[in-house]
């Protein structure tokens, strides 16, 4: 039987991978992939805690909310990226410096 710790360690690794992806990529969509990693790690943690009786079923419900929020976030972010692409003709976030003072 697998305890709580392996799940938490896996989630920690996934969070770090997500942050590394966000740091290393300049493509806006690749950064969005990193964000998905972080959100998945958070949901995995919630579900693992829920399984071990910490907070009863609230963990699974909260993980559902994480999935819903991730979907909404991805939709709005992609719409913004499309707009960005129509304006600057690239999704390289370093090119989006028009607001620079």
């Amino acid at each position: 039987m697998i305890g709580l710790t392996p799940y938490l360690v896996l989630a920690a690794i996934l969070v770090v991978l997500g942050i590394a992806i966000i740091i290393s990529k300049r493509n806006a969509i690749a950064m969005l992939i990193g964000v998905e990693f972080i959100l998945n790690a958070a949901a995995l943690n919630l579900a693992a805690f829920s399984r071990h009786g910490i907070g009863a079923l609230s963990g699974q419900t909260a993980a559902l909310f994480v999935i819903v929020l991730a979907a909404a976030e991805a939709v709005v972010a992609l719409a913004i990226f499309l707009n960005f692409y129509h304006t600057i003709a690239t999704v390289d976030i370093d090119q989006g410096d028009q607001l620079k003072g």
Partner: protein, 175 residues
């Protein structure tokens, strides 16, 4: 025993997918590795008995978000992708930050003493439904409003401003 093997199988797929995305320079391959990671996380949900969560993960993430990302890639990467590989200085900082964060997180997670109860197998959809319409009624309604706002906002943001003109402009700058 079998559970341990399955856990490490799914965990390995998720971590390998993350590393592959980190090292890859092809945005479409990244999207497919993301799908691999999402499916393995769904498998972990099934493994821990959260069946409803696993199904929702596959339906919403793999069926929705991942496909949306692939569409985003197709709609935006006309010329070859912007820089997907960090410079040497950035890579150094990246490794330092990631290592410190990883060590800190894993140490804190392994040394924390959680008040673990027995493993509860409360996975019925009915219970989750009661929880959503009971304790979580407020967040549930807020989430529905949020989804509506996201739908309208995305449709508003992504609409073509001047369709014909924009298309000609992009044709000019494409090559």
């Amino acid at each position: 025993m079998l559970e341990t093997v399955i856990f490490f199988l799914f965990a390995a797929v998720a971590v390998v997918a993350g590393l592959a995305i980190l090292l890859s320079t092809n945005i479409v391959r990244m999207a497919y590795w993301l799908i691999a990671m999402l499916i393995s996380v769904a498998g972990l949900y099934f493994l821990m008995g959260a069946y409803f969560l696993g199904v929702i993960q596959i339906l919403v993430y793999v069926g929705g978000v991942a496909v949306l990302l692939v569409f985003g890639v197709m709609l935006t990467s006309r010329q070859l992708a912007p820089r997907l590989r960090p410079g040497p200085g950035e890579a150094l900082w990246l490794v330092v930050v990631a290592t410190v964060l990883l060590i800190g997180l894993i140490l804190s997670v392994t040394h924390a003493r959680f008040d673990q109860g027995a493993i509860v197998a409360s996975n019925s959809v009915a219970e989750i439904g009661h929880s959503l319409l009971g304790d979580f009624l407020g967040p549930f309604e807020l989430a529905s409003v949020l989804l509506l706002v996201a739908l309208l906002g995305a449709a508003y943001l992504a609409r073509p401003k001047a369709p014909v003109q924009g298309a000609q402009q992009r044709k000019g700058t494409a090559i």
